[in-house]
Amino acid sequence: MKRLLFLIVSGLIVLSCTPRTVTTPQPATMPSEKKATTEGMEKKQPIEKGTTEIGGEEVAKIETAEIQEPTAAELSAKEREEILKDIHFDFDKYNIRDQDKPILRKIADWLLSRKDVKLVIEGHCDERGTNEYNLGLGDKRATATKDYLVSLGVPENRLQTVSYGEERPLCTEHTESCWQQNRRAHFVVIEGGR
Protein backbone atom coordinates (compact mmCIF):
# COMPACT_ATOMS: atom_id res chain seq x y z
CA MET A 1 0.00 0.00 0.00
CA LYS A 2 2.76 2.43 0.89
CA ARG A 3 4.46 1.61 -2.39
CA LEU A 4 1.27 2.33 -4.14
CA LEU A 5 0.73 5.81 -2.80
CA PHE A 6 4.33 6.50 -3.43
CA LEU A 7 3.75 5.64 -7.09
CA ILE A 8 0.82 7.99 -7.19
CA VAL A 9 2.86 10.67 -5.57
CA SER A 10 5.76 10.16 -7.94
CA GLY A 11 3.34 10.45 -10.79
CA LEU A 12 1.99 13.64 -9.37
CA ILE A 13 5.34 15.19 -8.87
CA VAL A 14 6.12 14.53 -12.54
CA LEU A 15 2.92 16.21 -13.51
CA SER A 16 3.04 18.97 -11.01
CA CYS A 17 4.06 21.72 -13.37
CA THR A 18 0.56 21.80 -14.75
CA PRO A 19 -2.10 21.22 -12.14
CA ARG A 20 -4.28 18.19 -12.81
CA THR A 21 -7.55 17.03 -11.52
CA VAL A 22 -7.53 13.65 -9.93
CA THR A 23 -10.53 11.60 -10.84
CA THR A 24 -11.20 8.28 -9.29
CA PRO A 25 -13.91 5.93 -10.49
CA GLN A 26 -16.33 4.98 -7.79
CA PRO A 27 -16.20 1.32 -6.89
CA ALA A 28 -19.12 -0.63 -8.26
CA THR A 29 -19.61 -2.48 -5.06
CA MET A 30 -20.67 0.62 -3.16
CA PRO A 31 -23.57 1.94 -5.19
CA SER A 32 -25.32 3.51 -2.26
CA GLU A 33 -22.49 5.89 -1.55
CA LYS A 34 -22.53 9.39 -2.99
CA LYS A 35 -21.61 8.68 -6.56
CA ALA A 36 -21.63 12.25 -7.62
CA THR A 37 -18.61 13.14 -5.57
CA THR A 38 -16.10 14.53 -7.97
CA GLU A 39 -12.67 14.47 -6.51
CA GLY A 40 -10.99 11.94 -4.31
CA MET A 41 -12.42 8.95 -2.57
CA GLU A 42 -15.18 9.02 -0.06
CA LYS A 43 -14.06 8.76 3.51
CA LYS A 44 -13.87 5.35 5.11
CA GLN A 45 -14.63 3.56 1.87
CA PRO A 46 -12.35 0.72 0.85
CA ILE A 47 -10.65 1.10 -2.51
CA GLU A 48 -11.58 -1.74 -4.86
CA LYS A 49 -9.53 -3.03 -7.75
CA GLY A 50 -9.45 -0.57 -10.61
CA THR A 51 -7.43 2.09 -12.29
CA THR A 52 -6.91 5.66 -11.34
CA GLU A 53 -6.78 8.18 -14.10
CA ILE A 54 -4.70 11.23 -13.49
CA GLY A 55 -5.32 14.07 -15.85
CA GLY A 56 -5.66 13.54 -19.57
CA GLU A 57 -2.17 13.27 -20.96
CA GLU A 58 -0.66 10.68 -18.80
CA VAL A 59 -2.32 7.76 -17.16
CA ALA A 60 -0.83 6.06 -14.19
CA LYS A 61 -1.98 2.47 -14.09
CA ILE A 62 -1.96 1.40 -10.56
CA GLU A 63 -2.71 -1.82 -8.82
CA THR A 64 -4.86 -1.12 -5.83
CA ALA A 65 -5.45 -2.95 -2.62
CA GLU A 66 -7.75 -2.74 0.31
CA ILE A 67 -7.20 0.10 2.78
CA GLN A 68 -8.61 -0.50 6.22
CA GLU A 69 -10.57 2.53 7.40
CA PRO A 70 -8.62 5.16 5.58
CA THR A 71 -9.06 8.68 6.88
CA ALA A 72 -8.41 11.91 5.12
CA ALA A 73 -5.46 12.69 7.30
CA GLU A 74 -3.82 9.33 6.77
CA LEU A 75 -1.13 9.95 4.28
CA SER A 76 1.38 7.18 3.93
CA ALA A 77 4.45 7.58 6.05
CA LYS A 78 6.46 7.73 2.86
CA GLU A 79 4.51 10.65 1.47
CA ARG A 80 4.79 12.52 4.71
CA GLU A 81 8.47 11.90 4.80
CA GLU A 82 8.94 12.97 1.21
CA ILE A 83 6.85 16.10 1.18
CA LEU A 84 5.37 17.30 4.43
CA LYS A 85 8.60 17.85 6.25
CA ASP A 86 8.75 20.17 9.23
CA ILE A 87 10.63 23.40 8.64
CA HIS A 88 12.62 24.96 11.45
CA PHE A 89 13.30 28.36 12.91
CA ASP A 90 16.03 30.11 14.88
CA PHE A 91 15.42 30.99 18.52
CA ASP A 92 12.82 33.76 18.88
CA LYS A 93 12.69 34.21 15.07
CA TYR A 94 9.95 33.66 12.52
CA ASN A 95 11.63 34.24 9.21
CA ILE A 96 11.79 31.30 6.75
CA ARG A 97 15.36 30.04 6.56
CA ASP A 98 16.96 29.61 3.13
CA GLN A 99 17.63 25.92 3.69
CA ASP A 100 13.90 25.33 4.26
CA LYS A 101 12.70 27.02 1.10
CA PRO A 102 13.10 23.89 -1.09
CA ILE A 103 10.88 22.01 1.38
CA LEU A 104 8.16 24.63 1.01
CA ARG A 105 8.60 24.57 -2.78
CA LYS A 106 7.93 20.81 -2.72
CA ILE A 107 4.90 21.24 -0.47
CA ALA A 108 3.54 24.00 -2.70
CA ASP A 109 3.99 21.85 -5.82
CA TRP A 110 2.25 18.97 -4.19
CA LEU A 111 -0.62 21.18 -3.07
CA LEU A 112 -0.94 22.61 -6.56
CA SER A 113 -1.27 19.09 -7.94
CA ARG A 114 -3.67 17.98 -5.25
CA LYS A 115 -6.53 20.40 -5.15
CA ASP A 116 -8.42 18.21 -2.73
CA VAL A 117 -5.91 18.80 0.01
CA LYS A 118 -6.26 21.31 2.79
CA LEU A 119 -3.46 21.75 5.29
CA VAL A 120 -3.17 23.05 8.78
CA ILE A 121 0.16 24.64 9.48
CA GLU A 122 1.03 24.33 13.15
CA GLY A 123 3.47 26.87 14.58
CA HIS A 124 5.60 25.53 17.44
CA CYS A 125 8.27 26.90 19.76
CA ASP A 126 10.83 25.51 22.14
CA GLU A 127 10.39 25.64 25.90
CA ARG A 128 12.87 28.41 26.52
CA GLY A 129 10.52 31.29 25.88
CA THR A 130 7.54 32.02 28.07
CA ASN A 131 4.26 30.26 27.30
CA GLU A 132 1.99 33.12 26.30
CA TYR A 133 4.56 34.99 24.23
CA ASN A 134 5.33 31.73 22.48
CA LEU A 135 1.72 31.53 21.31
CA GLY A 136 2.38 34.79 19.45
CA LEU A 137 5.69 33.48 18.14
CA GLY A 138 4.10 30.20 16.98
CA ASP A 139 1.41 32.25 15.24
CA LYS A 140 4.06 34.28 13.40
CA ARG A 141 5.91 31.11 12.36
CA ALA A 142 2.76 29.45 11.04
CA THR A 143 1.73 32.64 9.23
CA ALA A 144 5.19 33.17 7.71
CA THR A 145 5.05 29.60 6.42
CA LYS A 146 1.56 30.08 5.06
CA ASP A 147 2.53 33.38 3.39
CA TYR A 148 5.48 31.69 1.75
CA LEU A 149 3.27 28.91 0.33
CA VAL A 150 0.75 31.50 -0.86
CA SER A 151 3.58 33.37 -2.59
CA LEU A 152 4.27 30.13 -4.46
CA GLY A 153 0.71 30.07 -5.74
CA VAL A 154 -1.13 27.98 -3.18
CA PRO A 155 -4.63 29.38 -2.63
CA GLU A 156 -4.91 30.88 0.84
CA ASN A 157 -8.20 29.13 1.53
CA ARG A 158 -6.48 25.75 1.51
CA LEU A 159 -4.13 26.72 4.31
CA GLN A 160 -5.17 27.18 7.92
CA THR A 161 -2.82 28.03 10.74
CA VAL A 162 -2.83 27.26 14.42
CA SER A 163 -0.28 28.20 17.04
CA TYR A 164 0.60 25.73 19.76
CA GLY A 165 3.41 27.83 21.19
CA GLU A 166 5.59 25.60 23.33
CA GLU A 167 2.62 23.50 24.46
CA ARG A 168 3.09 20.55 22.07
CA PRO A 169 6.80 19.72 22.01
CA LEU A 170 8.07 17.00 19.67
CA CYS A 171 11.05 16.38 21.86
CA THR A 172 11.14 16.88 25.62
CA GLU A 173 14.82 16.90 26.49
CA HIS A 174 16.39 20.15 27.55
CA THR A 175 19.08 20.27 24.85
CA GLU A 176 19.72 22.57 21.90
CA SER A 177 19.18 19.75 19.39
CA CYS A 178 15.83 19.03 20.96
CA TRP A 179 14.87 22.70 21.10
CA GLN A 180 15.77 23.05 17.43
CA GLN A 181 13.38 20.19 16.57
CA ASN A 182 10.65 21.92 18.50
CA ARG A 183 11.04 25.30 16.79
CA ARG A 184 9.08 24.19 13.77
CA ALA A 185 6.19 24.59 11.44
CA HIS A 186 4.42 21.26 11.12
CA PHE A 187 1.97 20.31 8.39
CA VAL A 188 -1.18 18.30 8.93
CA VAL A 189 -3.62 17.30 6.20
CA ILE A 190 -7.15 18.11 7.33
CA GLU A 191 -8.94 17.43 4.08
CA GLY A 192 -8.26 15.22 1.06
CA GLY A 193 -4.81 13.82 0.60
CA ARG A 194 -5.35 10.31 -0.68
Partner: protein, 420 residues
Protein backbone atom coordinates in the same frame (compact mmCIF):
# COMPACT_ATOMS: atom_id res chain seq x y z
CA UNK B 1 -13.87 56.91 59.53
CA UNK B 2 -13.20 53.49 58.27
CA UNK B 3 -16.19 51.25 58.15
CA UNK B 4 -16.34 47.54 58.12
CA UNK B 5 -18.12 46.21 55.17
CA UNK B 6 -19.77 43.05 56.21
CA UNK B 7 -20.78 40.59 53.62
CA UNK B 8 -23.56 38.38 54.70
CA UNK B 9 -23.83 35.19 52.78
CA UNK B 10 -25.55 31.94 53.48
CA UNK B 11 -22.15 30.40 53.88
CA UNK B 12 -20.62 32.73 56.38
CA UNK B 13 -22.52 35.06 58.60
CA UNK B 14 -20.63 37.63 60.54
CA UNK B 15 -21.97 40.08 62.96
CA UNK B 16 -20.38 42.48 65.33
CA UNK B 17 -20.91 42.49 69.02
CA UNK B 18 -19.71 46.02 69.03
CA UNK B 19 -18.34 47.88 66.09
CA UNK B 20 -14.99 49.47 66.60
CA UNK B 21 -15.14 53.17 66.91
CA UNK B 22 -11.60 54.06 66.01
CA UNK B 23 -10.32 54.38 62.47
CA UNK B 24 -6.81 54.80 63.64
CA UNK B 25 -4.18 53.16 61.48
CA UNK B 26 -1.71 51.63 63.86
CA UNK B 27 0.95 50.84 61.36
CA UNK B 28 2.12 52.14 58.02
CA UNK B 29 2.90 48.99 56.05
CA UNK B 30 4.34 50.97 53.19
CA UNK B 31 7.15 52.26 55.38
CA UNK B 32 10.47 50.76 54.28
CA UNK B 33 11.77 50.07 57.78
CA UNK B 34 8.78 47.98 58.73
CA UNK B 35 9.35 45.82 61.80
CA UNK B 36 7.07 42.84 62.34
CA UNK B 37 4.83 43.41 65.39
CA UNK B 38 5.14 40.74 68.09
CA UNK B 39 1.68 39.28 68.66
CA UNK B 40 0.40 36.61 71.05
CA UNK B 41 -2.35 34.41 69.60
CA UNK B 42 -4.03 32.06 72.07
CA UNK B 43 -5.74 28.79 71.23
CA UNK B 44 -9.43 29.67 71.28
CA UNK B 45 -11.19 28.15 74.28
CA UNK B 46 -14.07 25.72 74.20
CA UNK B 47 -13.37 23.24 71.40
CA UNK B 48 -10.47 21.43 69.71
CA UNK B 49 -11.34 23.58 66.68
CA UNK B 50 -10.00 26.53 68.68
CA UNK B 51 -6.44 25.34 68.22
CA UNK B 52 -6.95 24.87 64.48
CA UNK B 53 -8.37 28.37 64.10
CA UNK B 54 -5.53 29.82 66.16
CA UNK B 55 -2.93 28.11 63.96
CA UNK B 56 -4.48 29.46 60.77
CA UNK B 57 -4.61 32.98 62.19
CA UNK B 58 -1.00 32.81 63.42
CA UNK B 59 0.18 31.45 60.06
CA UNK B 60 -1.68 34.13 58.09
CA UNK B 61 -0.34 36.91 60.27
CA UNK B 62 3.19 35.57 60.09
CA UNK B 63 3.19 35.17 56.30
CA UNK B 64 1.99 38.76 55.91
CA UNK B 65 5.34 39.89 57.27
CA UNK B 66 3.52 42.52 59.32
CA UNK B 67 3.19 40.38 62.46
CA UNK B 68 5.48 38.08 64.38
CA UNK B 69 3.47 35.51 66.36
CA UNK B 70 5.25 34.79 69.62
CA UNK B 71 5.71 31.21 70.84
CA UNK B 72 2.75 30.05 72.96
CA UNK B 73 5.15 28.76 75.66
CA UNK B 74 5.84 32.34 76.64
CA UNK B 75 2.24 33.25 77.47
CA UNK B 76 1.71 33.69 81.19
CA UNK B 77 -1.76 35.21 81.14
CA UNK B 78 -4.97 33.20 81.40
CA UNK B 79 -6.61 32.39 78.04
CA UNK B 80 -9.79 33.96 79.38
CA UNK B 81 -10.66 37.34 77.89
CA UNK B 82 -9.12 39.36 80.63
CA UNK B 83 -6.14 41.51 79.91
CA UNK B 84 -3.30 43.02 81.86
CA UNK B 85 -0.69 44.79 79.73
CA UNK B 86 1.96 44.33 82.39
CA UNK B 87 1.93 40.59 81.61
CA UNK B 88 3.20 41.42 78.11
CA UNK B 89 5.45 44.45 78.15
CA UNK B 90 8.43 42.45 79.45
CA UNK B 91 8.01 39.99 76.58
CA UNK B 92 7.89 42.78 74.04
CA UNK B 93 4.50 41.55 72.86
CA UNK B 94 2.40 44.40 71.48
CA UNK B 95 -0.86 42.68 70.58
CA UNK B 96 -2.78 39.82 72.14
CA UNK B 97 -5.52 37.71 70.54
CA UNK B 98 -7.90 35.63 72.67
CA UNK B 99 -11.26 34.10 72.12
CA UNK B 100 -13.57 31.15 72.26
CA UNK B 101 -15.40 28.78 69.97
CA UNK B 102 -18.68 26.98 70.58
CA UNK B 103 -20.67 24.56 68.47
CA UNK B 104 -24.31 25.20 67.72
CA UNK B 105 -25.69 22.35 65.64
CA UNK B 106 -23.60 22.17 62.49
CA UNK B 107 -22.36 25.70 63.05
CA UNK B 108 -19.51 27.15 65.02
CA UNK B 109 -19.65 30.48 66.77
CA UNK B 110 -16.35 32.21 67.38
CA UNK B 111 -15.70 35.23 69.55
CA UNK B 112 -12.39 37.04 69.18
CA UNK B 113 -10.78 39.84 71.18
CA UNK B 114 -7.75 41.85 70.19
CA UNK B 115 -5.87 43.70 72.93
CA UNK B 116 -3.32 46.44 72.42
CA UNK B 117 -0.52 46.26 75.01
CA UNK B 118 0.79 49.76 74.42
CA UNK B 119 -2.58 51.45 74.61
CA UNK B 120 -3.60 49.03 77.37
CA UNK B 121 -7.07 48.39 75.96
CA UNK B 122 -9.23 46.12 73.88
CA UNK B 123 -9.29 47.36 70.29
CA UNK B 124 -11.38 44.69 68.60
CA UNK B 125 -14.20 42.46 69.73
CA UNK B 126 -16.07 40.46 67.17
CA UNK B 127 -18.30 37.44 66.77
CA UNK B 128 -18.35 35.07 63.80
CA UNK B 129 -20.73 32.30 62.87
CA UNK B 130 -20.41 29.76 60.08
CA UNK B 131 -21.03 26.13 59.21
CA UNK B 132 -18.25 24.05 60.71
CA UNK B 133 -17.02 23.03 57.27
CA UNK B 134 -16.14 26.69 56.65
CA UNK B 135 -13.73 26.82 59.56
CA UNK B 136 -10.85 27.78 57.25
CA UNK B 137 -12.47 30.77 55.52
CA UNK B 138 -13.86 31.86 58.90
CA UNK B 139 -10.31 31.82 60.31
CA UNK B 140 -9.01 33.84 57.34
CA UNK B 141 -11.79 36.35 57.98
CA UNK B 142 -10.58 36.76 61.58
CA UNK B 143 -7.00 37.21 60.35
CA UNK B 144 -8.22 39.84 57.91
CA UNK B 145 -10.07 41.75 60.62
CA UNK B 146 -6.96 41.84 62.81
CA UNK B 147 -4.83 42.92 59.85
CA UNK B 148 -7.34 45.59 58.81
CA UNK B 149 -7.57 46.93 62.35
CA UNK B 150 -3.82 47.37 62.60
CA UNK B 151 -2.86 48.42 59.09
CA UNK B 152 -6.03 50.10 57.86
CA UNK B 153 -5.88 47.94 54.74
CA UNK B 154 -7.57 44.79 53.53
CA UNK B 155 -5.32 41.74 53.64
CA UNK B 156 -5.13 39.02 51.00
CA UNK B 157 -6.01 36.28 53.54
CA UNK B 158 -9.41 35.67 51.96
CA UNK B 159 -8.16 35.69 48.37
CA UNK B 160 -7.63 32.81 45.99
CA UNK B 161 -5.31 31.80 43.22
CA UNK B 162 -6.60 30.37 39.93
CA UNK B 163 -4.18 28.25 37.93
CA UNK B 164 -3.99 25.59 35.25
CA UNK B 165 -3.10 22.04 36.19
CA UNK B 166 -2.08 19.43 33.65
CA UNK B 167 -2.56 15.71 34.04
CA UNK B 168 -2.29 13.19 31.19
CA UNK B 169 -2.33 15.95 28.53
CA UNK B 170 -5.60 17.30 29.89
CA UNK B 171 -5.66 20.76 31.44
CA UNK B 172 -8.01 21.83 34.19
CA UNK B 173 -8.63 25.22 35.75
CA UNK B 174 -8.21 24.97 39.51
CA UNK B 175 -8.91 27.51 42.23
CA UNK B 176 -7.29 27.31 45.66
CA UNK B 177 -6.93 29.53 48.69
CA UNK B 178 -3.79 31.68 48.36
CA UNK B 179 -1.99 29.32 50.75
CA UNK B 180 -2.79 26.25 48.65
CA UNK B 181 -5.57 25.01 50.92
CA UNK B 182 -9.04 24.02 49.72
CA UNK B 183 -8.02 23.13 46.18
CA UNK B 184 -11.05 22.98 43.94
CA UNK B 185 -11.41 21.94 40.33
CA UNK B 186 -13.69 24.22 38.33
CA UNK B 187 -14.58 21.29 36.12
CA UNK B 188 -13.36 23.28 33.13
CA UNK B 189 -10.93 21.19 31.17
CA UNK B 190 -9.52 20.87 27.68
CA UNK B 191 -6.26 19.69 26.12
CA UNK B 192 -5.06 23.29 25.90
CA UNK B 193 -6.05 26.13 28.22
CA UNK B 194 -4.03 29.33 28.66
CA UNK B 195 -4.08 32.82 30.07
CA UNK B 196 -6.51 33.18 32.98
CA UNK B 197 -7.92 36.61 33.89
CA UNK B 198 -10.22 37.37 36.84
CA UNK B 199 -13.03 39.89 36.70
CA UNK B 200 -12.71 42.60 39.35
CA UNK B 201 -15.43 41.05 41.53
CA UNK B 202 -13.78 37.60 41.20
CA UNK B 203 -17.03 36.05 39.97
CA UNK B 204 -15.85 35.43 36.42
CA UNK B 205 -12.71 34.09 34.78
CA UNK B 206 -11.67 34.72 31.20
CA UNK B 207 -9.27 32.35 29.40
CA UNK B 208 -8.22 30.96 26.05
CA UNK B 209 -8.54 27.43 24.81
CA UNK B 210 -7.96 25.65 21.50
CA UNK B 211 -10.94 23.63 20.43
CA UNK B 212 -11.27 22.19 16.92
CA UNK B 213 -8.06 23.91 15.74
CA UNK B 214 -9.38 27.34 16.76
CA UNK B 215 -8.24 29.54 19.60
CA UNK B 216 -11.30 30.76 21.43
CA UNK B 217 -11.77 33.14 24.33
CA UNK B 218 -14.09 31.70 26.96
CA UNK B 219 -15.76 33.15 30.02
CA UNK B 220 -16.56 31.09 33.09
CA UNK B 221 -19.21 32.61 35.34
CA UNK B 222 -19.05 31.05 38.80
CA UNK B 223 -22.38 32.51 39.90
CA UNK B 224 -24.26 31.19 36.90
CA UNK B 225 -22.04 28.10 36.84
CA UNK B 226 -21.72 28.52 33.10
CA UNK B 227 -18.95 28.61 30.51
CA UNK B 228 -19.55 30.77 27.43
CA UNK B 229 -17.58 31.04 24.21
CA UNK B 230 -17.04 34.75 23.66
CA UNK B 231 -14.99 34.88 20.51
CA UNK B 232 -13.07 32.55 18.28
CA UNK B 233 -11.55 32.35 14.85
CA UNK B 234 -8.79 30.51 13.02
CA UNK B 235 -6.40 33.19 14.30
CA UNK B 236 -4.58 33.07 17.63
CA UNK B 237 -6.92 34.71 20.16
CA UNK B 238 -5.47 35.10 23.64
CA UNK B 239 -7.37 36.64 26.54
CA UNK B 240 -6.03 39.69 28.35
CA UNK B 241 -7.23 41.63 31.39
CA UNK B 242 -10.78 42.74 32.03
CA UNK B 243 -11.16 46.51 31.94
CA UNK B 244 -12.34 47.96 35.28
CA UNK B 245 -15.94 48.33 34.02
CA UNK B 246 -16.19 44.53 33.83
CA UNK B 247 -18.01 44.73 30.49
CA UNK B 248 -15.00 44.70 28.24
CA UNK B 249 -11.63 43.03 28.11
CA UNK B 250 -8.30 43.25 26.35
CA UNK B 251 -7.10 40.49 24.08
CA UNK B 252 -4.41 39.70 21.55
CA UNK B 253 -5.46 38.37 18.18
CA UNK B 254 -3.86 37.67 14.83
CA UNK B 255 -7.27 38.12 13.16
CA UNK B 256 -5.79 40.79 10.89
CA UNK B 257 -2.66 38.77 10.16
CA UNK B 258 -0.31 39.60 13.01
CA UNK B 259 -0.90 39.41 16.77
CA UNK B 260 -2.22 42.84 17.74
CA UNK B 261 -4.18 44.17 20.70
CA UNK B 262 -7.93 44.66 20.77
CA UNK B 263 -10.73 45.45 23.20
CA UNK B 264 -13.80 43.24 23.19
CA UNK B 265 -17.02 44.85 24.41
CA UNK B 266 -19.16 42.12 25.93
CA UNK B 267 -22.52 43.86 25.64
CA UNK B 268 -22.26 45.06 22.05
CA UNK B 269 -19.87 42.27 20.92
CA UNK B 270 -17.92 45.08 19.29
CA UNK B 271 -14.20 44.64 18.69
CA UNK B 272 -12.00 47.71 18.91
CA UNK B 273 -8.45 47.61 17.63
CA UNK B 274 -5.76 49.37 19.66
CA UNK B 275 -2.43 48.44 18.02
CA UNK B 276 -1.36 48.27 14.37
CA UNK B 277 2.07 46.70 14.33
CA UNK B 278 3.81 44.13 12.21
CA UNK B 279 5.34 42.17 15.04
CA UNK B 280 3.97 40.30 18.04
CA UNK B 281 1.76 42.28 20.43
CA UNK B 282 0.52 40.10 23.25
CA UNK B 283 -0.22 39.79 27.01
CA UNK B 284 -2.10 43.08 27.56
CA UNK B 285 -2.79 44.05 31.19
CA UNK B 286 -4.64 47.11 32.43
CA UNK B 287 -3.40 49.66 34.97
CA UNK B 288 -5.47 49.81 38.17
CA UNK B 289 -6.94 53.17 37.13
CA UNK B 290 -7.98 51.68 33.77
CA UNK B 291 -6.16 54.33 31.76
CA UNK B 292 -3.03 52.57 30.58
CA UNK B 293 -2.04 49.14 29.36
CA UNK B 294 1.18 47.21 29.65
CA UNK B 295 1.93 44.57 27.04
CA UNK B 296 4.68 42.62 25.30
CA UNK B 297 5.94 43.65 21.88
CA UNK B 298 8.87 42.43 19.82
CA UNK B 299 9.18 45.52 17.67
CA UNK B 300 12.64 46.26 19.03
CA UNK B 301 13.71 42.81 17.81
CA UNK B 302 13.22 41.01 21.11
CA UNK B 303 10.17 40.76 23.37
CA UNK B 304 10.01 43.68 25.80
CA UNK B 305 7.38 45.27 28.03
CA UNK B 306 5.79 48.54 26.93
CA UNK B 307 3.15 50.77 28.44
CA UNK B 308 0.84 53.20 26.72
CA UNK B 309 -2.51 54.92 27.17
CA UNK B 310 -5.58 52.97 26.12
CA UNK B 311 -5.81 55.54 23.32
CA UNK B 312 -2.34 54.56 22.10
CA UNK B 313 -0.61 57.67 23.39
CA UNK B 314 2.56 57.82 25.44
CA UNK B 315 4.08 54.53 24.32
CA UNK B 316 7.28 53.72 26.17
CA UNK B 317 9.40 50.70 26.91
CA UNK B 318 9.78 49.91 30.60
CA UNK B 319 11.87 46.69 30.63
CA UNK B 320 15.61 47.06 30.27
CA UNK B 321 16.87 44.17 32.38
CA UNK B 322 17.55 41.72 29.54
CA UNK B 323 16.89 40.74 25.95
CA UNK B 324 13.73 38.79 26.69
CA UNK B 325 11.07 40.29 28.95
CA UNK B 326 7.47 39.02 28.99
CA UNK B 327 4.43 38.37 31.26
CA UNK B 328 3.69 41.79 32.77
CA UNK B 329 1.55 42.13 35.91
CA UNK B 330 0.60 45.63 37.06
CA UNK B 331 0.89 46.27 40.80
CA UNK B 332 -2.43 47.23 42.43
CA UNK B 333 -0.97 50.59 43.46
CA UNK B 334 -0.15 51.22 39.81
CA UNK B 335 3.43 52.29 40.48
CA UNK B 336 5.31 49.17 39.42
CA UNK B 337 5.13 46.19 37.07
CA UNK B 338 6.32 42.65 37.70
CA UNK B 339 7.49 40.67 34.71
CA UNK B 340 9.65 37.75 33.76
CA UNK B 341 13.05 38.50 32.25
CA UNK B 342 15.64 36.09 30.92
CA UNK B 343 19.01 36.05 32.69
CA UNK B 344 21.67 33.55 31.63
CA UNK B 345 19.10 31.51 29.69
CA UNK B 346 16.65 31.31 32.61
CA UNK B 347 13.55 33.36 33.31
CA UNK B 348 13.44 35.31 36.56
CA UNK B 349 10.85 37.55 38.15
CA UNK B 350 11.63 41.26 38.14
CA UNK B 351 9.77 44.27 39.48
CA UNK B 352 10.34 47.63 37.84
CA UNK B 353 9.40 50.96 39.40
CA UNK B 354 7.60 52.95 36.72
CA UNK B 355 8.72 56.35 37.91
CA UNK B 356 12.42 55.76 38.44
CA UNK B 357 12.87 52.84 36.04
CA UNK B 358 14.77 50.99 38.76
CA UNK B 359 14.25 47.26 38.71
CA UNK B 360 15.04 44.41 41.08
CA UNK B 361 15.38 40.69 40.44
CA UNK B 362 13.35 38.64 42.93
CA UNK B 363 14.14 35.02 42.01
CA UNK B 364 17.25 33.06 41.10
CA UNK B 365 16.43 29.34 41.23
CA UNK B 366 15.31 27.55 38.06
CA UNK B 367 12.90 29.30 35.70
CA UNK B 368 10.39 31.67 37.27
CA UNK B 369 7.60 33.02 35.10
CA UNK B 370 4.08 34.44 34.99
CA UNK B 371 4.08 36.77 38.03
CA UNK B 372 0.72 37.99 39.34
CA UNK B 373 0.32 40.47 42.20
CA UNK B 374 -1.95 39.86 45.17
CA UNK B 375 -4.69 42.51 45.46
CA UNK B 376 -2.91 44.18 48.39
CA UNK B 377 0.23 44.41 46.26
CA UNK B 378 2.38 42.85 48.97
CA UNK B 379 2.71 39.40 47.39
CA UNK B 380 3.34 37.80 44.03
CA UNK B 381 2.33 34.37 42.80
CA UNK B 382 4.35 32.85 39.97
CA UNK B 383 5.31 29.61 38.25
CA UNK B 384 8.65 28.01 39.05
CA UNK B 385 10.32 24.82 37.82
CA UNK B 386 12.98 24.88 40.54
CA UNK B 387 11.91 21.43 41.74
CA UNK B 388 12.10 19.95 38.24
CA UNK B 389 8.49 20.54 37.26
CA UNK B 390 6.30 23.60 36.99
CA UNK B 391 4.54 24.50 40.21
CA UNK B 392 2.74 27.53 41.66
CA UNK B 393 4.70 29.58 44.21
CA UNK B 394 4.01 32.65 46.29
CA UNK B 395 6.42 35.19 47.77
CA UNK B 396 6.43 38.63 49.30
CA UNK B 397 6.71 41.37 46.70
CA UNK B 398 10.32 41.93 47.80
CA UNK B 399 11.22 38.29 47.01
CA UNK B 400 11.12 37.00 50.61
CA UNK B 401 9.36 33.85 51.83
CA UNK B 402 9.21 32.01 48.49
CA UNK B 403 7.18 28.82 48.85
CA UNK B 404 5.23 26.37 46.68
CA UNK B 405 1.47 26.29 47.18
CA UNK B 406 0.07 24.01 44.46
CA UNK B 407 -0.07 20.23 45.03
CA UNK B 408 3.16 18.30 44.90
CA UNK B 409 3.88 16.44 41.63
CA UNK B 410 1.07 18.20 39.73
CA UNK B 411 2.29 20.16 36.69
CA UNK B 412 0.79 23.58 37.36
CA UNK B 413 1.21 27.00 35.76
CA UNK B 414 -0.51 30.24 34.76
CA UNK B 415 -1.40 31.45 38.30
CA UNK B 416 -3.58 34.53 38.72
CA UNK B 417 -4.23 36.00 42.14
CA UNK B 418 -7.92 36.82 42.63
CA UNK B 419 -8.67 40.54 43.01
CA UNK B 420 -10.64 39.91 46.21
Amino acid sequence: MKRFIITITTLLVLFCLSTTSSARVYLDITSPGLRAIPIAVYDLLGSPAGKEIRNIIARDLKFSGVFLPVDKEAYIETPLPVFDPSNWTALGVELVVKGSVTKEGDEIVVVVYLFDVIEARKILQKKYRAKEKFLIPLSHTISNDIYLKITGKESMFKTKIAFIGEEKSQRTIYIMDWDGKRLMSTGINAPLIMSLHWSKDASRLLYSSVRGLQWGIYLADFRKKKETLIYRSTATNIAGDFLPDGNSFLFSSSRKGSPDLYIYHLNSKRIERITWKRGIEISPVISPDGKRIAFVSDHSGTPQIYIMGLDGRGLRRISFSSGYCTSPSWSPAGDSIAYSGMVGGKHQIFVVDLESGDYIQLTDQGNNEEPSFSPDGRFITFTSDREGYKRIYIMRANGEAQQPVSPKKMRAFGPKWSPK
